[in-house]
Amino acid sequence: MIRVGTGLKRQQVSASLSLSEVAFRLMALALVDAVAIWLVIRMVTDGVWLLVTLVTIITVGLNVVFLREEFYPLRWMSPGLALMILMVVYPLVFTVYTAFTNYSDGHLLTKQQTIKRITTGLQNMYVPEGGTAYRWVAFEAEDGTLALWLTDAEGNHYFARPGEPLRPARAGEGIFGPPDEQGVPTAIEGYTRLNRIQAAANRELPSIQFGLPPNAVQVRTPSEAAVLRPRFVYDPQQDAIVDQKEGKIYVADDANGFFVSADGETLTPGYIVTVGWRNFSRLFNSPAIRGPVIRVFIWTVVFAAASVVTTFALGLFIALLYNDPAVRGRKLIRSLLIVPYAIPAFISILVWRGMMNPQFGVLNRALDTWLNISPPWFSDPMWARLGVILVNLWLGFPYMMLVCSGALQAIPDDIYEAAEIDGAGAWKKFRLITLPLLLVSVGPLLISSFAFNFNNFNVIYLFNQGNPPMRGTLTPVGHTDILVTYVYRLAFASGGGKDYGYAAAITIIIFLIVATITLFNFRYTRMWEEVSEHV
């Protein structure tokens, strides 16, 4: 059936295609290709090969789809699919990949980058034992070549030029002009004296060898020049970095991403390697998982469920209220009620934080005056939990209100009329007609709202960072921490810096939990079927 259908469509379409439409399509395609080629060139220079491959595949795919008639049905979907691959699938794949690496502080660079970083540059040069360090002043000849006036610690002066041996010199003699306080000639015949910044502006300066190798002097810092040797040298045969100064050999340890010496010392920085399941086993073996994670998990579920129920209840209530045509100015009021949704969440959360301050907060002062209580929102575990749910209610109800208003208008009036004739009251109409019909279309949204709140990092983190703290735990954790904020604590706030690999591993575990709960919800409530029946 489908084949016939599309075949028919294609015939019709080809018949009605005009030249200008084809031209437009080709031009649009050319534009997309141009952007893609530009992107690929940029990304090749950055060396992000995974992205290069991906963009290339997507671009080729788009071209095929738009140029070959037999892929006509795919044309409408292809932009969406392409964007989805780039914006959703790629980050997902990358997250999974990261979970199997040691990508973290101390392991940010690739092995190639690390070798280059350790074995090159001015920072790798050292003065060998017994070497002399000189103070230097640079002079530039008319033809642009440089020469150095060197002064050692004893006050002996030398004049050094590339390719000629160092020769002792004294200011005020021969071509050398009269000395300044340091004994450096103020001028040399045929040369201009440079200050340190002018000299350093010449990028070549550190690599110029003044004198005859191997005893040539090189500039190391703005104040010091000496006979220099590179300290760390990479030996590809041993796959090791050799320390010329100490004579130590640091062998690449590709299991841990470090260059390690025989006595266990490592070179900084390390590099990125894949570590298999290590991040996962670390998670399951950590005291963190044996400790408070069950409590955190229960609270996470409670928080997500309570957020959905409260926001839905309030949203539905308001939607019902303003769905009644008898209410005046309902459009205006409805627009105003969207305000909490429109204000950036982090601003509202901080405002709530202020209002709930136990000493100065407006809310607490009011409660104190009317009810004579001043809830300790930030220090008592139960009040803190209630506070988080309240703030989330404020943030979440406008969304539910919008969704419900739309769904309510879709329920046909004649059903209500029929119910009235049968003698149903307001409550019965709500319970037997409105709610079941509403849940059909809103149900899946409630489930995704649950999944969203399950990972609602912003509310918890901005409201109280998961505090107040639990006592007697093996890792720092708070009473309002949900799984995501707990992960944040584990992966970023403890140990030696940020551990992206570990965080990615925990994220995957959380994803599995959320996915399981969500799938189970859909199965259990059979919402798929209902949705597709009714669309």
Binding site: V88, P91, T98, D105, G106, L108, L109, T114, R117, G121, L122, Q123, N195, R196, I197, A199, A200, A201, R203, L205, P206, T221, P222, T268, P269, S286, N357, Q359, F378, S379, P444, A451, F454, N455, F457, Y461, N467, P468, P469, R471, L474, T475, V487, Y488, F492, A493, S494, G495, G497, K498, A503, A504, T507, F511, V514, F522, W528, V531, S532, V535
Partner: protein, 446 residues
Amino acid sequence: MIRRTILLPVVVLVVMVAVAACGGGGAQPTAAPPPTEPPAEMAPSPTPEPMEEPSPTPEPTAAASPTPEPAAETGAQLVIWADENRAPIMQELAEEFKAQYGVELVVQQVSFGDLREQFKVAAPAGEGPDIIIGAHDWLGELVVNGLIAPLDLGDQQDQFLDVALQAFSYDGQLYGMPYLTENVAFFYNPDLVPEPPTTWSEVREIAAQLQEEGQVTQGYVLQVGDPYHFYPIMTAFGGYVFGRDEKGSYNPDDLGIDSEGSIAAATWLDQMVKDGLLSPDVDWDTMHAMFENGESAMFITGPWALSRIRDSGVNYAIAPIPDETADGKPFMGVHGFMISAFSQDPLLAQAFLTEFVATEEVMQKLFEADPRPSAFLSVREAIDDPDIAAFGEAGQNADPMPAIPEMASVWEAWGNAVTLIFQQQEDPEAAFKAAAEQIRAAIAGQ
């Protein structure tokens, strides 16, 4: 039928994607404020960090404009990253630098909160700056990742405050050129407290007396659960966070959170709360507001709060941290210049710092643009603002805030211990011992 078969996979896909997107949220925690830096969030740093400012690419602030008579054009150029508070003064210096030496200094503005993360990404890709301006406690992270290069100040070394150089040293090696220091000091209201207390026992007595007389709501205020402002008290009782080795570097194996002195300080705190002299409901803002409207007579804060206290019109004076069994020492934060290990012009970058910035003239300009005690001795000694000078005085014996990566494990557990004491949920000794245990476990890699 057809509609249904097509629709179902699409819905599945969309929902899966939505769920996946939520699940992926945890993988991008860089958007959230870093918790590794309590001083920056608890004591709002002078450069407030916008929560989630999307500025992926630093915007060049009008590259050095042509000056009337540039020195011989060399074509060389340096790129420097500075936050919004420092970019204007750097821009000014860039013009001067170009006029004097013909070297272009491109100042790019990157917000303080984003600078480190962006530098971590941009530098290895070869797109980073030659120089960044930042805080010394970034050092651990940047050095461990191999992103900044050692620095040799040569003969300029003696011109800098010793503790500031220490702060910018890692493993005995200097990695930055400091230019300003900041530390907390003891504020008191001379109308209520004629003479500044010199010990914490005195603070306690004065607070108790003032409260008894009903002159204030709370004699001494301290923000709940904030280890940064608690550290001066801890050191006054002989406590410490990390011990130091012979080179003066912090030693992560010697944790002092459960040392005798730290517990003594915790016990003092506990007693204050028990006696109603410290309230468990005071946060950073409350603490300042109470001092500013005279509801409180003494507290600890830093130079970043100076302007709001001045504006409030309250009578105030600044004194060094009170002592007890030992010297009360605040943490010192030091800001300075660091050179990228990936810079193509490391020599020029160094020369810019040691020959141009490390001069009294430029250091004075930097001080005037951001009046906090300079790390450059001659400028520091010539400070004529008595308040800033008082902060400098209070910071005379300060400890540089540990920059070792292990410090990241300390803040949270330590802060929680202080909070638990404030809330009277755990006795001081148990709280600090538990915190020390948590920290040791975290340092050992769990």
